[in-house]
């Protein structure tokens, strides 16, 4: 891959990513947040995070073997381990480890 291509693409990606983060600070700078903004502040984050879970799974092919079994098992493990032990490391590690074993050794 050409150096100029990589540098150009990385610079532009860095710039647009920063733009997505600075937008609200430019447009809502002076106003005191209204009740509706506070309500969004409190409730939008969990909705974004839940949707990101499904977003991360959007390219799974549910109709063909292995029917997303590895992904479902991985998400279930992450959920149950985290609800039970509240330990992010343990949840992420166990889920990812199981997923890797499943796709590499079991569901082949």
């Amino acid at each position: 891959m050409e150096t100029s291509y990589l540098i150009g693409a990385i610079s532009l990606a860095a710039f647009v990513t920063y733009v997505t983060r600075i937008i609200p600070f430019l447009f809502f700078r002076k106003k005191e947040p209204s009740a509706i903004i506070k309500y969004i502040e409190w409730n939008m984050p969990v909705m974004i995070m839940v949707i990101l879970v499904f977003y991360a799974l959007k390219d799974v092919q549910w109709e063909v073997y292995p029917y997303g079994i590895a992904e479902i098992v991985g998400v279930l493990i992450a959920t149950f381990v985290h609800v039970k032990f509240k330990n992010a490391l343990l949840s992420i590690f166990l889920a990812t480890f199981t997923y890797m074993i499943l796709i590499q050794k079991v569901l082949v």
Binding site: P33, G74, S91, Y99
Partner: protein, 216 residues
């Protein structure tokens, strides 16, 4: 407190670095991408686009759409950051999914917030840079079957969803986002799934405020 992110970002950063090394891109690009872009999913997306020889403009547009969700994060941090000094410019730059989740789920007293948030952001970015460089270097020297390591991203989102749910006062937004996410995953076009689902979630949240706040 940044330990959950450490545990998420190091393996995830390593997964990113390993993927980068599989595309035969020199390891120091992992360092520069994590330093200047600092967006987990966005950097994975960029690798996918590098691999398919997308144009620079396509990479710019796709990254913008994927990261547009950060605008929602910023929206909910405006009042918090308002009286902060120059440090807020770095915090705005570093408002990733994981940093945002941490800033939203802590119990730090108001007078300590500015310094604490700055340190949290800087620590998170160092974990991310460290993980991605380790991964990029390892991928070149250690032969190992790394397939599936990208699932750490999904697991991280699951863990952060549960943490945010436990912190929230209302339960209906969580249930609604499960439905929107499921429908979006199964029926929305892949390239527009994220922005469509997020827009619908925001619209429902605002339009049905009274219903959602009622009877929890």
């Amino acid at each position: 407190m940044t330990i959950p992110v450490l545990m998420g970002y190091i393996p995830l950063g390593m997964a990113f670095g390993l993927l980068l090394s599989q595309l035969l891109i020199p390891w120091y690009y992992a360092f520069f991408m994590s330093l200047f872009i600092f967006a987990g999913a966005g950097q994975f997306l960029a690798l996918g686009l590098f691999a398919s020889q997308a144009t620079i403009l396509e990479i710019g547009v796709a990254t913008f759409l994927l990261n547009l969700r950060h605008t929602f994060y910023g929206l909910s941090m405006v009042s918090t950051f308002k009286n902060f000094s120059w440090k807020k410019h770095y915090m705005i730059f570093g408002l990733t999914d994981e940093t945002f989740a941490l800033l939203k789920t802590n119990d730090i007293a108001d007078e300590h917030k500015e310094n604490a948030y700055f340190i949290i952001t800087a620590l998170n970015q160092s974990y991310w840079i460290l993980g991605s460089v380790i991964g990029a270097v390892l991928g070149n020297i250690v032969p190992f079957d790394y397939r599936g390591i990208e699932f750490s991203l999904t697991a991280l989102f699951v863990v952060l969803s549960i943490d945010l749910y436990n912190k929230s006062k209302l339960h209906k937004p969580f249930l609604i986002s499960l439905i929107i996410g499921l429908v979006g995953m199964l029926s929305f076009p892949s390239s527009k799934m994220l922005i469509l689902s997020l827009s619908i979630a925001a619209i429902i949240l605002i339009l049905f405020k009274k219903v959602l706040e009622d009877g929890n």
